[in-house]
Amino acid sequence: MTLERLLLLSFVVFSIGLYGVLARRHVIALLLSIELMFNAVNLAILSVAWAHGWLTGVILVLFGIAVTVAEVAVGLSLFLLAERVRGTTAADDLSTLEG
């Protein structure tokens, strides 16, 4: 396993996540895709840290995962609220900001 391959993996995972965010319509799927992108970034940081033997990167990623968990909780509660108030969880229907 070399650093290049790990970063390539990270890039592939990130791109899959980006595609998901842009292509999927259901908000849960959006959230999952965002998580995928996030984890790709985590993987990239971790790879570089592993390659150089830096402990700081590992700690940063640990913190990042903790924040992600909180973010997922907030995201899910927002979707529940959207379902209750607007009666939908399709991203296209949540377009109040239309100009």
Partner: protein, 622 residues
């Protein structure tokens, strides 16, 4: 000296401040009047003390402080100039203002407390402004107080603002004097351009040293004269003064006879050293003054309203003073200003007493009041004799000095104009006197003498109108020592004297006028109405005030309204058109651009992603 002058200014200012910041005091009516009278009383005492101090030691004193710095040019200063001219004028103004304010307690006694307080607040404002104008140390400061005086005049003319004529007259007075003030402002700037200073003393020094630039000096003095024309009601800006009689009569006495309208003459006397270096402007001052004197005297001949007779007479006498200033006889002009303040103030107060008793301004509503109002009658007679210039009343000396100086300086046309005017003056004053106090009609059964609070102030002025001539030598001496002294004036007065025929001529004209009025209105030896009918074109012109008002109205309609229409069209269609066009473009573009904002999350994310790819491409150096 400076301390006393400060007290003179501080009195009315303190009263104004008190009445201004304490509304309960102002609304209390008579107490507000007492505060104001106390303020001007303090001023009067200080002004008299100042005059005595000056008599003991005639020295010019100045005090100044930097008001607004102006780069390297020294800046604008604020200060007091205490010399013979301002000391004398301060005393006159404080005295007349005090007398009038006391008199007002009686005349305005039927006003509501709130209105009376407002009246006295305005009076204090006016007194402060007028005293400040007199003591001003430079042209710019004079201009500031000049405008304040105009404001006081406006407020007091329109004091009975519920009367439409009064508010219209106030407007007219304000706008007409403003027209002159444009000239004043320009004059101040021109003089600054000429001499690089606002201070009177510096300007005089430069003028006498010959370092003032010619064109700017002429323009500057001419500008100041335009301002003086507005304030002192000189043709053609005299139209506001007769209408200003809509104000309460004491106001007319103080502002529109004794003090404010004399401010223009005072200003010209103040700058007479500059006037001496601008003969072209001086000639205009002389000609316009003499013409105004004659023109407004004719209008006084037929006026029915007693206050309008006095108003036209005031314009006429101001013309006298202007003519004197123009002829270089600033001492005579200021002497006449002083005596005029006394006797015209007296005449207005007496007229106010008549109006108070009869409840009408119309001379033909009065008649046979001599028995019922003996004091008022005597005072009116004293004032009329003084105004006519009958020996030994004050007006004789001052009017005589003007005529004498005109004769000596060789202004024959102006001299004869003023002699004729003197005859007309005597005629219209005694016409008013005989109509009001004798005559055939008895229009006022319940008329009675005014209370002491009105007659005593009149008495003070009557004594001065009788004996004011004694101030002549002192005024001549004081002005000779003042900052505005003319270099050659003292010498001229020395070998003066002139011909003895001149005083005879003035007195003869006055006596002829009195005799004519007596024959026409008392003895009924001829019918004045028939004479008026015989020269009906002239009478008609006088009735229309020589069409000056109509000319102004015509100019207003022809030029001002036409200009207004053009400007209105430009504003509505060109300026607004440009603005509306730009707005329409913005609206149209915005309408298209807003469609970018779909509100969908993914569209925004597409933008982010594209941005990201672009950034990545940039980072890779593509």
């Amino acid at each position: 000296m400076i301390a006393l002058a400060t007290v003179v200014l501080a009195g009315p200012f303190a009263a104004l401040a008190l009445l201004g910041v304490l509304p309960p005091l102002r609304r209390s009516g008579r107490p507000a009047g007492y505060v104001s009278i106390l303020g001007i009383g303090t001023s009067l005492v200080a002004a008299v003390a100042l005059a005595l101090a000056y008599r003991a030691e005639p020295a010019t004193a100045t005090w100044e402080t930097l008001w607004a710095p102006l780069g390297g040019q020294g800046g604008i200063r604020f200060g007091l100039l205490v010399d013979g001219l301002s000391v004398a004028m301060l005393a006159v103004v404080a005295l007349v203002a005090f007398v009038v304010q006391v008199y007002s307690l009686g005349y305005m006694s039927s006003e509501k407390p709130g209105s009376l307080g407002r009246y006295y607040a305005y009076h204090s404002l006016f007194a402060f402004a007028m005293l400040g104008l007199v003591a001003a140390h430079n042209t710019l400061q004079t201009y500031v107080f000049w405008e304040l005086v105009g404001l006081g005049s406006y407020l007091l003319i329109g004091f009975w603002y519920e009367k439409p004529e009064a508010s219209r007259a106030a407007m007219k007075a304000f706008w007409t004097t403003r027209l002159g003030d444009v000239g004043f402002a320009a004059g101040v700037v021109f003089l600054w351009a000429a001499g690089g200073t606002f201070a009177f003393t510096d300007l005089f020094a430069e003028a006498n040293a010959g370092t003032l630039s010619g064109t700017f000096l002429t323009l500057g003095v001419a500008g100041l004269f335009v301002g003086a024309m507005g304030k002192s009601a000189q043709f053609p800006l005299h139209i506001w003064l007769p209408d200003a009689m809509e104000g309460p009569t004491p106001v007319s006495a103080l502002i529109h006879a004794a003090t404010m309208v004399a401010a223009g003459v005072y200003l010209m006397v103040r700058v007479s050293p500059l006037l001496a270096h601008t003969p072209a402007v001086a000639a205009w001052v002389l000609g316009l003054g003499a013409f105004t004197a004659l023109l407004s005297a004719t209008m006084a001949l037929t006026a029915r309203d007693v206050k309008r007779v006095l108003a036209y007479s005031t314009v006429s006498q101001l013309g006298y003073m202007m003519a004197a200033v123009g002829a270089g006889a600033s001492v005579a002009a200021f002497f006449h200003l002083t005596t005029h303040a006394f006797f015209k103030g007296l005449l207005f107060l007496a007229a106010g007493s008549l109006i108070h008793a009869v409840h009408s301004n119309d001379l033909f509503d009065m008649g046979r009041l001599w028995r019922r109002m003996p004091l008022t009658g005597i005072y009116f007679l004293v004032g009329s004799l003084a105004l006519s210039g009958v020996f030994p009343f004050a007006g004789f000396f001052s009017k005589d000095e003007i005529l004498l100086d005109l004769w000596r300086e060789g202004h024959a046309l102006a001299f004869w104009t003023l002699v004729v005017t003197a005859g007309m003056t005597a005629f219209y004053m005694f016409r008013a006197f005989f109509l009001a106090f004798f005559g055939a009609r008895d229009g006022s059964e319940h008329a009675h003498e005014s209370p002491a609070v009105m007659t005593v102030p009149m008495g003070i002025l009557a004594v001065l109108a009788l004996a004011g001539g004694v101030f002549g030598p002192a005024i001549s001496d004081w002005l000779g020592r003042s900052a505005s002294a003319l270099p050659h004036a003292a010498a001229a007065a020395e070998h003066g004297g002139g011909s003895g025929a001149v005083p005879m001529l003035g007195s003869a004209a006055a006596l002829a006028g009195i005799l004519l009025a007596w024959l026409g209105y008392q003895r009924r030896a001829f019918r004045p109405e028939a004479v008026a009918a015989a020269v009906s074109p002239i009478t008609a012109a006088i009735e229309r005030r020589w069409f000056v008002d109509d000319v102004f109205l015509g100019l207003y309609r022809a030029f001002y309204l036409a200009l207004g229409t053009v400007v209105g069209w430009l504003d509505r269609y060109v300026i607004d058109g440009v603005v509306n066009f730009l707005t329409a473009i913005t609206w149209g573009l915005a309408g298209r651009l807003r469609r970018v904002q779909t509100g969908r999350v993914q569209d925004a994310l597409y933008a982010v992603a594209i941005g990201l790819v672009l950034l990545a491409l940039l980072a890779m150096g593509l």
